[in-house]
Symmetry: C2
Subunit: 379 residues, 2 copies
């Protein structure tokens, strides 16, 4: 008998209560029962986004909502500033390119966060910039971006701020309205504890002004259609992923019950426990400066391959984590502490890594990493 533990930054584990809710008999979406659920979901999403504006629910991966931001807010030939500090910042660049947006990239070394002053400099130098694209938590590097400061900078200009908060929302502190975020994007399969298949986007009034002018072609991702459907009928323009919306209702209720600030604190503590454990285990943090509450990348001891460790964790201990992408493939492991996780998920992953590393010939004292984590988790 071997249990399975999923510690990846999306998908994340789905709480049994959410799974059971989604397993109930299918209902039609154009019915009062569904519309009541969908209304609750809309209210709950506003709370978790910290916004007074509507949060639109799309049936797609998170990338679909990123595409919705590009095609609804910009037009071909517009200029955008893109923070590229990892795979997901890079994706903003590719999306802008696909829709003929002139893209100015701020390339940031992997493991580092963008300096908000660099954004200010670009905005001062180039008044053509209509939008700044950035990432709350860059999943590929485990870096959290200082959106609050960036929001203050962008607010002073004509440009809008678009934030991919897909892996960050519900794990990191994030205030859409207070931080002057004009378009905030999230996905279902992260801190929202659902399977993948839903994506979310909230727009400010400043963003809606650009949406009114946008000439990019769109249909499925048209947020004007989404707004009309929501405001006039309490619906989505196309058949929604009904079971996932029903699960989301349950997940949002669970988050409200725990208290959103408590949820963030829990994530923060789990992340800190991993980092403290890593320290005593001699594993270096890949992004020590601006750690994430969602995912922690650790460098492998020199001469050891991340792939071997990941495989051993899975095959021998049933623990699933992931490695690095692109140029850090094989060099780092990434441990998610995201969504439906409590202290023992951290104990499990640390103890599994201890055992696997010892088996790989790495010298460490078993239980020492676990002890360091426990100290944080008991606080």
């Amino acid at each position: 008998m071997k249990k399975n533990y999923l510690l990846t930054p999306g998908p994340t584990a789905v709480p049994p209560d959410v799974s059971l809710e989604m397993a109930r008999p299918m209902i039609h979406h154009r019915t009062p029962v569904y519309m009541e659920v969908f209304k609750n979901v809309n209210d709950g999403l506003k709370k978790i986004f910290y916004t007074k504006n509507n949060v639109y629910v799309l049936t797609s991966s998170g990338t679909g909502a990123m595409e919705a931001a590009v095609v609804n807010l910009l037009s071909p030939g517009d200029t955008a500033l893109v923070v590229n500090a990892g795979k997901f910042g890079e994706r903003w660049g590719k999306l802008c390119e696909a829709y003929s947006i002139n893209t100015i990239m701020i390339n940031v070394e992997w493991g580092k966060a963008v300096n908000p002053e660099d954004i200010r400099k670009h905005l001062l130098e180039n008044k053509q910039i209509k939008a700044v694209f950035t990432t709350l938590c860059e999943t590929s590097t485990g870096v959290t971006t200082d959106i609050k400061t960036i929001g203050k900078i962008v607010k002073e200009t004509e440009a809008i701020l678009i934030v991919d908060a897909i892996s960050g929302l519900g794990a990191e502190e994030f205030r859409t309205d207070d931080w002057n975020v004009d378009a905030a994007i999230a996905g279902s399969q992260k801190a929202l504890m659902l399977p993948p298949g839903l994506a979310f986007i909230a727009l400010s009034d400043k963003a809606w002004k650009l949406a009114e002018e946008s000439k990019s072609p769109k249909f499925y991702y048209s947020l004007k259609k989404a707004k009309k459907s929501l405001v006039e009928e309490g619906q989505t323009p196309f058949t929604p992923a009904i079971s996932l919306v029903i699960g989301l209702n349950k997940a949002l209720n669970m988050i409200q019950e725990e208290g959103l600030e408590n949820v963030i604190t829990r994530h923060s503590k789990l992340g800190k426990a991993i980092r403290e454990a890593a320290k005593v285990m001699g594993l270096e943090l890949f992004a020590p400066g601006t750690p994430s509450n969602a995912v922690t990348p650790l460098k492998m001891p020199s001469g050891m391959d991340a792939g071997v460790l990941i495989k051993k964790l899975k095959s021998k201990y049933g623990v699933t984590i992931i490695g690095g992408q692109d140029h850090v493939k094989g060099k780092i492991i990434r441990i998610a502490h995201l969504g439906y996780m409590d202290l023992f998920d951290i104990i499990i992953v640390i103890s599994a890594i201890e055992m696997a590393l010892v088996e790989m010939g790495y010298k460490l004292e078993l239980g020492k990493g676990v002890g360091a984590a426990q100290k944080v988790l008991m606080e």
Copy 2:
């Protein structure tokens, strides 16, 4: 105690075995376990599409796959011929318009099928036509289109044939390759017995040639990306709706077990039973000429409102069917016999309609409609 019965043409009822499969603990998609499931799904989809080509799985509503067809196969300024025989044909027109395709519409009266010769005429008159868009089963009118004949006509030209088979696939006979369909599209929440959230598209070699030339902007719906990801890695380019894919694997296995031809025959018989019952109940068929195996629209007795009947069926009998859209709203009811349905679903809906109509003051002999249905169902 009142049970609920869902007889709508999407979403359709989800078999408990599929729901249970989807309720199992979440797994990561970049793992051998998931990739094995996804391989089975790809094989199963090829069988149900009757194609040797790959069927690409998109995380979206069916409309997303329709958009994928437009943006991958055409370029702005291209000319397309669109069969508009209802809401979903109309959607092809709107999609083409959104992407600056010159659209020639063949407007067909609701409840009638397009005459394939009209398509031939247009293709002969206008050599600019690059694509013909049509619908296998027009859900809004309950009409089945003669795709086989249209396929023969389009095959003789440079144009490609694109078929929205969303509500038809698995219910109507449909042979992608044999019938010369260049792009076939389906969705999860119809005969495939899943919740909404997945859409599918298969392309012929002739279609891929156009895909290579297409200049329409795209990212999330890029089928080149989908092809590369599937061929090189056995994956999708973006995080898939994992739980739905796992459910699809189960549903496809169930269909294979029953036998695809038996599944079509079952749908055909259920539809015939509804039509025979309607006849003896004095309810006129809305689309008598080319009935559908998926959904049957019936005209309301004169002076009676469909909305009242639908509400009564739901509130008193727990039976959900839907009404007409646009100009036939209030005038017709639509009963789906689609997906996870057997003979008793038909008995239930007919007997419920009998009782509700009598309560509304309509004269009929209780059980007579049921009897007519039984006669067909016993065959």
